[in-house]
């Protein structure tokens, strides 16, 4: 039976072929990428033990990204729902407005230390792309971002930022023209240019090493949170629920990593996927809607696909969650029953956004609005000793056009 180990970071609990729980993850890559992936694996395992590198990382996390991000009580929302206390970890305080900056900064540092001058990455909501363009600018790297043509249209503010930072956006017009196609195109580009170029995968997906680097980077969120909880409550409360949206799963892993060893009865981990439009058959919720195990973008995970193994189109109001696969580590957390996964529809997310912004000075993007939807759903049934914490991992500025269209107002 699959089991989690204690006191070992989850990102390191894989076998020699890179599989978590014997079947999630791995590195299903073309031969050409074997060497660059091996080189990156060696470099990362060396650097993560290097004190100077850690010092450098912490310096940029503190002074460039801005640590810690706030941990605040949502008093009005809690009073309104009159159940559990609702708190938010405001990760959108981070430079650039979302958690994607952690992974982007670490990849830029890795790229530099491997002596490569070019960096490429994929993006869905545009945050991974925006942050990579920021980090590239900061560290003097040339940057190319692959983005689905549909996403370029719906997330314009982030595209403007990328261009301003000097990055080139490559529109991807194949398939559904969203994140899944952007990742494919980015990998294809890397196959052709891996000798000079470093690739950053924007989430805890892709070949094993990219899952590890991303998880190692976003883990900063829960390191901060653990300290903040202890300061706020004197000790870790008896009933906590950590709610996070899950697309690829990078912010959720980062939000949870320090708390995985706690008993489930004390700290429950809840992941919220994108259920898509209310009456649509399409969704982006492989974990909570029973998708089969498959191989996508170099790793085995639960994937929205048909019987033949063709990848399904997905649909979600949130570009950042609009992805048919999910991180292998979330598959592992699901099958070991450590985390619980559910989904929220587009409408649920919009309603949650309305309620949160009505009561609080917080402007969560459509991705964390999915997590807030679940918090709002369960809070009234719980007593006030229960502490719900939502990772507000992105800012809604990028969703300006969608919110205006759907809710008739500008944020």
């Amino acid at each position: 039976m699959m089991k989690l180990k204690k006191k070992i970071p989850l990102i390191d609990q894989h076998d020699k072929f890179g599989f978590w729980g014997g079947k999630f993850g791995g590195s299903y890559i073309p031969e050409t990428l074997k060497k660059p992936v091996d080189d990156l694996t060696k470099e990362f395992s060396k650097l993560r033990k290097n004190k100077n590198f850690i010092k450098k990382r912490d310096f940029y996390f503190n002074n460039y990204i801005g640590a810690p991000t706030r941990f605040i009580k949502l008093k009005n929302l809690s009073t309104h729902l009159s159940g559990a206390q609702i708190w938010a970890k405001v990760v959108s305080d981070a430079n650039g407005g979302a958690h994607k900056i952690y992974n982007a900064t670490v990849h830029a540092l890795l790229c530099r230390s491997m002596g490569k001058k070019y960096i490429v990455g994929d993006t869905g909501a545009g945050y991974a792309g925006k942050m990579l363009s920021m980090a590239a600018k900061k560290f003097g790297l040339k940057c190319k971002i692959f983005m689905g043509a549909k996403d370029i249209k719906r997330q314009k503010p982030n595209c403007d930022a990328m261009i301003k930072n000097g990055a080139e956006i490559v529109p991807v017009k194949t398939g559904s023209q969203t994140l899944v196609d952007a990742v494919s195109e980015c990998m294809r580009y890397w196959v052709s240019n891996c000798d000079t170029t470093h690739m950053c995968v924007g989430s805890t997906v892709g070949p094993n090493i990219f899952v590890k680097i991303c998880g190692w980077s976003t883990a900063q969120i829960s390191r901060e949170l653990k300290k903040q909880i202890k300061i706020q409550f004197k000790k870790i409360p008896k009933k906590i629920k950590l709610i996070n949206c899950v697309g690829g799963g990078s912010s959720a892993y980062g939000f949870w990593s320090e708390f995985i060893d706690f008993p489930k009865s004390q700290i429950e981990l809840i992941g919220v996927e994108a259920g898509g439009p209310k009456n649509s058959k399409l969704h982006a919720a492989p974990l909570s809607r029973g998708a089969k195990l498959g191989v996508l973008h170099g790793a085995a995970s639960y994937v929205c696909q048909n019987n033949e193994g063709q990848i399904n189109e997905t649909e979600s109001i949130s570009a950042g969650l609009d992805y048919p696969g999910v991180s292998p580590i979330h598959c592992f957390l699901k099958d070991t029953k450590r985390a619980r996964y559910t989904y929220a529809t587009d409408e649920d997310a919009l309603n949650a956004y309305k309620l949160v912004t009505k009561f609080e000075k917080l402007n969560p993007s459509l991705e964390p609005s999915h997590a807030f939807a679940e918090a709002i759903r369960i809070a009234p049934r719980l007593n006030k000793d229960t502490v719900i914490i939502v990772n507000s991992c992105g800012d809604a500025k990028k969703d300006r056009d969608i919110l205006k269209k759907r809710l008739g107002r500008i944020t």
């Binding site: 073309p30 031969e31 194949t174 498959g294 193994g309």
Partner: protein, 266 residues
Amino acid sequence: MINPINFAFKNAKEKKRPALLTYTVAGDNTKKKSLEILKSISKDVDICEIGFPHNTPIADGGQIQTSAYRALKNGLKISDVFQIVKNFKKSKNSKPVILMGYYNMIYQYGENNFIKKCKSSGVNGLIVVDLPWPENKGFAKKCKSKAISFVQLLSPTTSKERLKNIIKDSHDMIYYISMLSTTGGRLKVSPKQILNNYNRIKKIDPKKNCVIGFGITEKTISKLRSADGLVVGSAICKEITRSLNNRQNPVTNVSKVVAKLRNKIS
């Protein structure tokens, strides 16, 4: 009995030319047409690679992607791929067939089922783009036990140590990827350099048939004719696209292209 893939190489060698391998996507642009193309080109071809199309290919360039999407749009299923192979193998000039594709489709079909079906439809070899060595050891063994050649891939980035290990575990044929590229890229290294790398591979085990693929067109093929075999894929897919755009018959046009390719190496 000599294995059909080895026989094809032996046959070409006797005629002092490299084996010509073509790659076409099953069902491009329809099931019927793709079978007609295979039947028509096979007189000039030594081994037919047939792609089973996937909608999320991570190592294919534009031409093959277009072919794959076209086939899928026309409703191609994996069972159709096997049917096309079966019908092709029944035809007069049929040649050994190597199926090529991505692992998820084999995984969903079930490894054992897939191999069984390959066997019963007459498939002689398999290339799985995203199942590298050593991860492919188990699957390759299963293939061998059913007398299906698992074709290992090598690339310019493959280290010397790795080359040795992969070649040791390879079956009748190995495939050298000429350059860092997806399929159909412009040849960005000199044929001389490609052949240098190729010769390093041959030195490790001269008995193994080694083919070169990626970036091979009418323009470049003759410069690489000292190899055991040469694979042309994107150039053919491109010709199908061109024919469809011009409302011409892809069967005749592709056959002409393949005949020209064959001429250049004969």
